[in-house]
Subunit: 546 residues, 2 copies
């Protein structure tokens, strides 16, 4: 028996496009005389469809797509993810299902039992969990057809669910597991995915064909890395990250391990680098945009953002604006210009002094006699934001936001100013990770000027301003933030870890009182296990650690 | 037996403040010789605590608050909502619980079984559903202690859950129901709440004491309206909306109906008006702010927003800025000025012409030879946004956003321009509802100038511009939007309802492609059953009806 896995990049709600992509993959699989082709979770509509699932019209279009796939399910069985209607009136209206289509008929439907509802996942919002579990019989093989999370409730210290679908199916003696997934990237995910898949084959003693999506859906990036694993826990093959792949396997070889290829290399910075490029490329491509614009300050954040943009979209599709003020140092403008020239990116220089002056003049009466403060600092950042937005409106660019996660965490940024833009590219990288990524980008030769990497970070909104004037050193700040945000450590635990009490309290307070700013930020490409945005939901009005 | 219900306004994560408020209510109840006092759902930490629940430290503080309440549970039993830890390792780590404290001890804990996970609710994100149900025995009464949604799975055409906790408890023959709720306001909610409560007493034949929260938590407004209902379905009393109330009832009288008071009046516009005032008042009060600022254009949206702000915060705490451009009509400035003077609100006039010119001059090279387009329109809106933000930064105001739901739906607004602000006050009111609210505000005499209400809506960003140049008439637009957003009707259903096909497609497309703008909008006070924001989660990058 031959099994094909199709690791594809779908567009949410693009029923025609997704179907066409699947039909082509089926042609390929048929040409290779495959017996089964397997697509990812909710492949017909793309993942995550979010509240589109509440529209009857949307579900009908999913059903229509499955009908079209049924028509070509001749000589090959098709396993494909789609929402289906729950026939029982009590409970949620939908199931998150895996169809198994054989000879023009729906041979079997397996419904997902474990509905991830944490971090960026909202599946119980839409789906009723499955209560019964049956293997599929096909060509003499008994197949455990599972959807994503259904294989994830083993080998965890603190299991999230009270049942384990594979345990339920084992009495039926399945020969192999097919898993249809949509499992988003984080820099830890590829390892974690292999660990869980291996825990399954080792517990159940049968091989698995695990199919993931690839490509970005707004802030979520799917890395692919689909897995074929032998029953002994050896990786038969791990498909590449961040690209589509269609590949056919002979089951007998997977069972014997003959011809196994093994896994992909997993370097954190390379994964992040490639993930961000995928994120930018798909954000633009799937929205039908080509051109990006961003403000280039000479600092590290905009430099790294620009390199990602140029690599994702092509230097010819990226434009940068240098917007010096009276507080900008000469070297900033030079560093920015050098980078733009190195990359071959078009740049404009638009000084903000006259705009800033006209605002100050217009508010002369109101501000009379009052000292320079954050109002004037923000006016500069907002003048820059407005220039970028005006260019974007005039020429059809999307503005890329250049904030990092440390800034976003502590609110060190100006709403509608440097926080503007349609997509936050590096907003899930702490400042120290931004430096690391910059060095990774320079690994084959200096792309980002070394001066941009070594100079002390500064917002340049006041004379001789440095980030360290108002923030703790990033080495320490980032570590506290990581423990608070990623690891959910509270103040007592942080102090017990050795961080200074006053610093812990100040930092946590900054994070919590700045929720209002993050609420209005662009979607942020998620590369960590806990990004700001849909995966971290906090009250704005609250009094906790604030 | 006497039962006290405490309809209180908590602050999320303000453990000391919430506890102090409860201790005071307990004193009151003790003075009235009450046997039981009932607080709302998750009262110790406030509702919704959202991802604070993922912090061990937060849960410990909840437990500490319950311990403090235990200490005063002498001579009176206390029913209070709090998260509790799930002792079983499998499943979610927490329960959403109702404690029943008697004589310094935890007498009983009832866990919530039905975990709302739809619209603005995310409870399965945090909580494991209860599987067993026991009544509490206290002073000869058997009490069905329930948490909010646990009584909501009856009398619905399409029940969301497969079990019904009260059905499970009825074999134990409870004498009454206590329900600890946190049920947010919409203009339909008070009626719906009464319907469900009545369905329960009629099905089970026992009275209910239903306790709700009051006050706003960022975008969610809790209206109170706690209910004591006789076993025959008569309303013994419905507590007032939008104010705290502590009231003690003699159970025997509730059983006989003696002295019943009945329900509150339910006028849609009055409910919305009072809800918005609560929303603004608590947003400011709970954040520790006093002063608001907004741009007053002479149009209906900013006029209605201003009246809400002045009534919520006091005219002395509100400042408005009139920011005319070359496209502003004289009557706009007059209408704005008259309103500010009528309300006694401080106003500034800051023309934007020179700022706008300085932007245009700065971008002269880039924009040379290109026609006036949306870039210039948006520059005006953004100049206004920047002026408001600068004033806010200088004087410590919060900027109020003045967009309505129709605009937010179709993207008829400028990001970082008129879409700026910390809180969207009328962003859940369709344009026609804004007119209706304006007329309601004028019911006892003209507050909002009649000219503001009767003139055709215009953004005034181009000569003689009218909203109707680029949008369908609001009468029709609002109806399509309502059917699409509130009722989730798809294009075919809308066309079948009689709306013109081209108009339907154009409108739905506008809604869907503008998700990116709404993503970056301020939190919006929710007054409808389906508001933009946390209750409506849509992909930004998608191709569905777009």
């Amino acid at each position: 028996m031959k099994i094909t896995i199709a690791q594809l990049n779908f567009r949410i709600g693009d029923f025609e496009g997704n179907l066409a992509k699947m039909l082509k993959a089926i042609e390929t699989a048929k040409a290779e005389k495959s017996d089964i082709i397997v697509f990812g979770e909710l492949a017909v509509c793309g993942y995550p469809p979010r509240d589109f699932l509440e529209f009857e019209d949307f579900i009908i279009r999913c059903e229509n797509a499955v009908s079209e796939l049924c028509k070509v399910a001749h000589g090959i069985a098709i396993a494909v993810g789609s929402p289906t209607k729950n026939p029982v009136i009590e409970g949620k209206d939908l199931f998150n299902s895996a169809y198994f289509l054989v000879e023009g008929e729906i041979h079997h439907i397996a419904n997902k039992a474990l509905l991830p509802t944490y971090d960026i996942f909202d599946e119980y919002r839409y789906f009723e969990p499955a209560k019964d579990f049956k293997v599929v019989e096909f060509k003499g093989q008994k197949i455990a057809l599972t959807v994503c999370e259904d294989i994830w409730n083993i080998s965890n210290e603190n299991p999230l669910y009270t049942i384990c679908p594979m345990d339920e199916m084992m009495p039926q003696q399945p020969d192999l597991i097919l898993n249809l997934s949509a499992s988003p990237f984080s820099y830890k995910q590829a390892e974690e995915r292999l660990r869980i898949v291996r825990a399954n084959v080792q517990r159940y003693g049968i091989p698995i064909f695990y199919v993931n999506h690839v490509g970005a859906q707004t802030e979520l990036i799917f890395d692919g890395g689909s897995i074929v694993m032998c029953a002994n826990g050896d990786v038969y093959e791990e498909l590449p990250y961040f690209e589509e792949a269609i590949k056919t396997y002979e089951l007998s070889k997977v069972l014997s391990g003959e011809g196994k290829i093994g896994e992909q290399p997993k370097d954190k910075m390379r994964l992040i680098h490639d993930a961000l490029i995928t994120g930018v490329k798909d954000y633009f491509g799937k929205l039908g945009f080509k051109k990006a614009i961003l403000g280039l300050s000479g600092g590290i954040d905009s430099a790294v953002t620009l390199v990602v943009a140029a690599r994702a979209l092509g230097a010819e599709n990226v434009r940068v604006v240098l917007m010096p003020s009276q507080f900008s140092s000469d070297h900033s403008v030079d560093d920015a210009r050098i980078l733009a020239e190195t990359l071959g990116v078009e740049y404009d220089i638009v000084p903000i002094k006259s705009i800033y002056e006209s605002f100050k003049n217009s508010l002369e009466t109101q501000f009379e006699g009052l000292p320079f403060n954050i109002a004037e600092e923000n006016l500069q950042a907002r003048s820059r934001g407005m220039i970028l937005m005006a260019m974007s409106n005039k020429f059809g660019h999307i503005v890329l936001n250049t904030s990092n996660k440390s800034e976003a965490a502590v609110g060190y940024g100006t709403l509608y100013g440097d926080m503007c833009g349609g997509l936050s590219v590096i907003g899930d990288l702490y400042k120290m990770e931004v430096f690391e990524l910059a060095r990774y980008m320079n690994k084959d030769g200096e792309v980002i000027p070394i001066n941009t990497i070594v100079k002390p970070p500064s917002a340049e909104l006041r004379p001789n301003q440095k980030d360290s004037d108002s923030l703790p050193d990033y080495e320490i700040l980032d570590e506290i933030l990581f423990q608070y945000i990623e690891n959910r450590k509270g103040p007592k635990e942080l102090i017990a870890m050795g961080f200074e009490e006053a610093l812990v309290k100040r930092t946590l307070r900054m994070v919590n009182i700045n929720e209002f700013k993050r609420f209005q930020t662009a979607p942020t490409l998620r590369i960590s296990p806990k990004a700001f945005g849909m995966g971290r939901r906090m009250p704005i009005v609250a009094k906790y650690l604030s």
